[in-house]
Structures are given as structure tokens and as C-alpha cells.
Amino acid sequence: MINLRDKGAQLWEGWNRPKRVTFAVIAVAIVGLLPFGGDFSFTSILNTPVSSYQSVLVYPVGMFVLMALGLNIVVGKSGLLDLGYVAFFAIGAYTAGVLGIHTHLNTWEILPIGMGMAMIAGVLLGLPTLRLRGDYLAIVTLGFGEIVRIVALNTQSIGASTGIPSIPTPPKTFGLKFDIVHNNSYFWVVLILILLVIWMIRRFTVRRPGRAWEAIRQDEDVAILMGVPILRYKVWSFSIGAAIGGAAGVIFASKTQYVAPNMFTFNVSVLILSCVVFGGMGNIWGVIVGGVILAYLPERIRFISNARQLVFGIALVVIMNVRPDGLLPRKKREKLGAVKEAKEVPNG
């Protein structure tokens, strides 16, 4: 089978800077124009039945990609199985709800606060639990996800089971209106967030945190012996992932203008994790593809109504059988024979 990931990486490595910049600009422009894709006859196949195509692009597609990228830092890069990622999404969304209703802060001002709240939750959960390994961590995070939802469900001041209605939409920014008929504006905001996250992850990967995460993922004990303060880096990984989930939550709340506990079930955690695993754990491009497909496909095939989940499930099982490491897996170097010789000895 062709290895798309390696083909792509090879192509990219062969390009010089102007070529890379041109490609990136064109790619971003195409993605940025996606909301208009529904309007033209030859791209109207993109249109989703039932839900508005532009709305689907924001939620679930954009949101899933954003959250999958965040969760990928935790699961894919650092090897920490987090089954309660929805908690951070919920914390971001509820922060937007509470502050949007009770203060005069607008969505952009709430965004960093929501990320901060999620991050604090990540640190509070991470410090005691990240000493655990593998399955134990998975169970604890699963519990945390449920606790957050159940607390929201039982707290009258944040609406209990009815949640928080009429959350304000973002103010008009750079001439862009944000409301129920202007989904494109949300899409572009999510796109910018996604690009920022991609940029951040790529910076991290080649620097100390990235190398520490990689070492922790491959062998925790040996990472310790190399002098990597593993708890610190695990908490970092966890809270950065949490902040991204929180950001998604804030945008989500300001778009739907309504949050309720039943939006933040274990299902969401599993779906986001599926995006990561399905796309290719540890590889951001794979994760993005996974997020897009898993979010978009169920909406696109809504015309088969009840059979939709079944078809979706079967498609997942089949693809995971054909490509057990995901659609675009990370480089599996331990399995390759001779890898190309390093051309030079880097100086650090």
C-alpha cells in the first residue's frame, strides 16, 4: 500500500521555502473558501442534507479537528490515554455561558479565560493522576469526564439539566457578523485556531517539550533516566490539550448560544479519540483528516437516516482493519529496515 504520509513528507522536504509558503497559502485559501463550496454546481456534492453545510463545517467538522489536534498532543504525542477529554470542552463552553450571561465580556475576551479554566482543570486533574500509567490513567480521566458532566447536571446556578440558554454571540469583528445565519465567520475563526494549534505543535515537536513527550511515549522509565522531568511534561501535555479543548468549548457555546449537560457525554470523548486513532495517532495531518471524515461523513449520509450510524460504524471497522495504524500514521521507524543515513551531524 502506498504510504501517503511518507510521500507527502518526501515532497515537502524536497521543496524550498518559497515553494512551501506558496503551497501553504494555497491550501489555507482553499480550506478558507470551503463554505462557498456548497453554492456551485460542481462542488455542490459537498452539501449536507438536513443540516446546513456551512453550519456542519463549524460544528462538528471544525470543532472535531480542533479538539482532535488538542487530544493528539496528549494521546498521540505523549502516549497518555485520556478518555475524558469532553470535560475540557464542557468547561470552556460553560465558562462562555456563565461569563457571557453574567458579565459584559465578549467572546474574544472570554476565549482566553475559558482556555485558562480548562488548563487549570487539566493541571488539577493531572498532578495527582499523571503518576498513574496506561489503563489506570484512562479510567481516572473517564471518571473525570463524567464528574464534570454530573456536577453541571446538579448545579442549579448553571441551569442544572436545562443548561444555559441565550449565550451571546461574538460581536461584529473586522466586518464579520457572528450569528445563526453567518456560519462562515465562525468557520474562519475555528480555522485560525486550528492553524495556530498546528503551528504550535510543529514548534513543540522539534523542541525540548516535543522530544520529552516522544521519550515519555516510547519508554517512560528510560525517559526518567535521561533526566526528563516526566511529571512536569505530562502535566504540560495534559494542560495544553485541555486549553485547546477549552477554546473549542468557548466557540461552540457562542455559536449554539446554548449549553446543556447532555451535550458533553462520554460519547464526545470517544468520538474525538476515534478521530485521532482513525486518522493516525501522533501525526497532525492524519488527525486532521480523521477529524474531517468522522465529523463530516455522518452528516453527509444523513439521507439514509436511521441506518446512518450503522453504515458509519461499519465503515469505521472496515477501514481500521485495512489500516490499523490509521489513515495517515506517524512514521514507524522501528519497523523499517535501513532508514536513510543522516546527511550531516546537526549541531543540536
Binding site: 522530544r211 521519550a215 519508554d219 533516566l225 521507524r333 522501528e334 532508514v339 543515513e341 551531524v345
Partner: protein, 243 residues
């Protein structure tokens, strides 16, 4: 550099693996801990490097009690371990493995080229394999990488956990020659081995461990001629018995 372990006790749950052992490693020495499987050799090393918590007793390094110190801080002090079973990062290249060995020395990039040269000097084979994934190396090469990587941290004391494990006799000779060479360059070595013959030939002093206790302590050359040690660890078939 002086490493002193005193009345050290280590438990796995309720089972006591190390039952109060004491030993010293002086500057410039090769000290070996020999003993059968389950004697507590590996546990002792893991406790010194901080992977296992101390139940009681002390580990002092240059007069400072390090028994409660975080593992990564011990690396910063100059205690570096090449783990048992050649714990290299299989998915990283030889170069990446070596680079991460320098993790504790933060931004001292200027040292990188110099130390890589030092490691390649000891292990020319690693230089040939620099871009190859760690997991694709042969057993002996992986052991070289584990030792080389530990040296990247510029340790004052190097902890070696069964470097001969699973290697062919030729390779064992080769590895032990290099260990002796590293020691001559000024690195103190604490060596844990089941291959008592090799370990005793190379070390200055030795401690014999049995079920979590030190049962004998002597100059390595004396133990090599000790009838009891010969019978227990160097007897007929001992040369073949370590796989």
C-alpha cells in the same frame, strides 16, 4: 565523586527486595555487584538512579543524601544509567537517541558535537548507523547505544545494568573492553553483572549479592580466586550459563 549506599532497604509492595545493603563506590573505580537472578542487583541500580523509592537507609553522593531526590535531578548531578535490556528508544534514530542523552544538560549545544565525537570514538559502529532507527540495531549495537547515550550526559558515575545480557561472546569482550576504556577516561563505574567472570576481571572491587543482602565484599581479583565464589558463580558452565 563518592557514592555511598547505607543500610538500603527497598520493597515491592510487601516483599522486601533489598534487605539492608551497604557499599561504597570511590572516585575512579569500577565496582561490580554480582549475584544470581533475583539477588537484587537491578533493583539496587534502579533505586540509586531514582526509578524505585527507598524504604529506608540512605544513598549519599558526594556527602549529599540523594535518596529522596527526583530521578531527573540525580541525572543532573552526574549519575547516569544505561538501563537493563538495552532500553533505547526504538523509534528514534541513533543520533536522536544520543541527543536525548544530553537532555539533562539543557542548552549546552556547544558540547553536542564534541560529545558525539567522543561517543563515536568509543563506538565507531554507532557513527555508521547514525540515521538508523534504534530498534533496527543488533543487540550489541543497542548496548553500545545505551552506553553511549548515558555518556552524553557527561556522567561522573556510570551505572551499567547487565551490559553483557544476551550478547555473543565476541561482543561481550568488545563491550567490556570499552567499559574499561571509559573508566580509564575518568568515569567511575558501578557495574551489575551476572557474567561474574568478565565483571571480576574488569572491576577493582566487588560485592556479592544474595537475596537482597551483601554476603561478600573484596577486591575483584581476590574474589576471582575465592573457592566459594568460584563454585557459586564461576563454576563449570558458568561461562555458557548467562543468556
Amino acid at each position: 565523586m563518592r557514592l555511598e549506599v547505607k543500610d538500603l532497604r527497598v520493597q515491592y509492595g510487601k516483599i522486601e527486595a533489598i534487605k539492608g545493603i551497604s557499599f561504597v563506590v570511590e572516585q575512579g573505580e569500577i565496582v561490580t555487584l554480582i549475584g544470581a537472578n533475583g539477588a537484587g542487583k537491578t533493583t539496587t541500580l534502579k533505586t540509586i538512579s531514582g526509578l524505585r523509592p527507598v524504604s529506608s537507609g540512605s544513598i549519599t553522593y558526594d556527602g549529599q543524601d540523594i535518596s529522596k531526590m527526583a530521578a531527573h535531578e540525580r541525572v543532573n548531578l552526574g549519575i547516569s544509567q544505561a538501563p537493563e535490556g538495552r532500553g533505547i528508544f526504538p523509534g528514534m534514530t541513533v543520533l536522536e537517541n544520543l541527543e536525548i542523552g544530553k537532555y539533562s544538560r539543557k542548552e549546552r549545544k556547544s558540547e553536542m558535537a564534541e560529545d558525539l565525537d567522543m561517543v563515536y570514538g568509543l563506538f565507531p559502529r554507532l557513527k555508521e548507523r547514525v540515521g538508523q532507527a534504534g530498534g533496527t540495531l543488533s543487540g550489541g549495537e543497542q548496548q553500545m547505544l545505551a552506553i553511549g547515550r548515558a555518556l552524553m550526559a557527561r556522567p561522573k558515575v556510570l551505572l551499567l545494568d547487565e551490559p553483557s545480557m544476551g550478547l555473543a561472546p565476541m561482543m561481550i569482550q568488545n563491550i567490556f573492553n570499552i567499559i574499561t576504556e571509559i573508566n580509564k577516561q575518568g568515569v567511575t563505574i558501578l557495574l551489575v553483572e551476572q557474567n561474574a567472570q568478565q565483571a571480576l576481571q574488569r572491576a577493582h572491587r566487588a560485592y556479592v549479592l544474595e537475596t537482597g543482602k551483601v554476603v561478600k565484599e573484596a577486591k575483584a581479583s581476590d574474589l576471582l580466586n575465592d573457592p566459594a565464589v568460584r563454585a557459586a558463580y564461576l563454576g563449570t558452565g558458568a561461562e555458557k550459563g548467562h543468556h
